[in-house]
């Protein structure tokens, strides 16, 4: 059994690890593209168009309490973000999808996960995807 203090320390360690690690892992798309840089860039561009747009829809679904919408959008997005190895984003989408089935879930519960998800996605775009697209 973990004490509250131990659990808190563990949470802080995980948060620190998330901070340090890259959001994206390009191993999968590199394997998929067989080294074709144009294809990899095309997928990154699609991510930049598609994911922020879908996150906006997800946020609207959360605010309006549209649980079916949350489930559907989160479910679809999971596969898209996994293409660029953004597993920390995918995990949070999965959590939103699961939460949407709960009767007792509150809007704040969704919003808390959404906020983490949005931060990770912003970091992925600004620090990993855009530099790869324009500096490579």
């Amino acid at each position: 059994m973990h004490t509250d203090k131990e659990r808190e320390e563990q949470d802080n360690t995980s948060a620190a690890q998330v901070q340090l690690k890259n959001v994206c892992d390009f191993a999968y798309i590199d394997r998929m593209s067989s080294g074709n840089k144009d294809f990899k860039k095309e997928i990154i561009k699609l991510y930049l168009q598609q994911v922020p747009e879908e996150l906006l829809k997800l946020q609207t679904a959360i605010i309006t309490g549209d649980k079916a919408g949350i489930k559907g959008i989160a479910h679809k997005l999971k596969s898209s973000v996994s293409l660029l190895g953004a597993e920390s984003v995918a995990t949070r989408l999965k959590a939103l999808e699961l939460l949407s089935a709960s009767e007792t879930v509150r809007t704040e519960d969704f919003l808390q996960i959404f906020k983490e998800l949005e931060e990770l996605n912003d970091r992925a775009i600004e620090e990993e995807l855009l530099p790869l697209l324009y500096n490579d």
Binding site: Y28, R31, M32, S33, S34, N36, F39, E42, I43, L46, Y47, Q50, G72, H75, K76, K78, S79, S80, S82, L83, K94
Partner: protein, 123 residues
């Protein structure tokens, strides 16, 4: 060999298209279930790969139509890895195989090839 790919997620669709073309197949894309039904009615395909969660006309409906109209046409369904119930439903409707997203390039190549070989041998 001509393959119809039905997927409303552009990133997944382009990835499937890229890999299948690399493997030498002719690929036709449909982004909605309705578009898939229209293409199935007006073209001849050797294989269909369809997502299940599509807007308006679902992947299950595409699968049902394909199996009812072209009994020998193999259909692979795409699904999330956590959709066991849905996959079972798809098999009941006649799906020949399923590929869980995210799929590996090798797995896609093998599953497609296996079904096409079986389909060609029958025909």
């Amino acid at each position: 060999m001509r393959i119809l790919v039905v997927e409303d997620d552009e990133m997944i669709l382009r990835t499937l298209e890229f890999r299948l073309k690399k493997d030498g197949y002719e690929v036709t894309a449909a982004r909605t279930g309705k578009e898939a039904l229209e293409k199935l009615k007006s073209n001849t395909f050797d294989l269909v790969i369809t997502d299940l969660m599509l807007p308006f006309v679902t992947g299950m409906e595409v699968l049902s139509f394909a199996k009812a109209t072209f009994t020998d046409l193999p259909v692979i369904v795409l699904s999330g890895s956590d959709e066991e119930g849905t996959i079972m439903d798809a098999f009941k409707l006649g799906a020949d195989d399923f590929i869980a997203k995210p799929f590996s390039p090798g797995e896609l190549t093998l599953r497609v090839k296996r079904l096409l070989v079986r389909h060609t041998a029958r025909g």
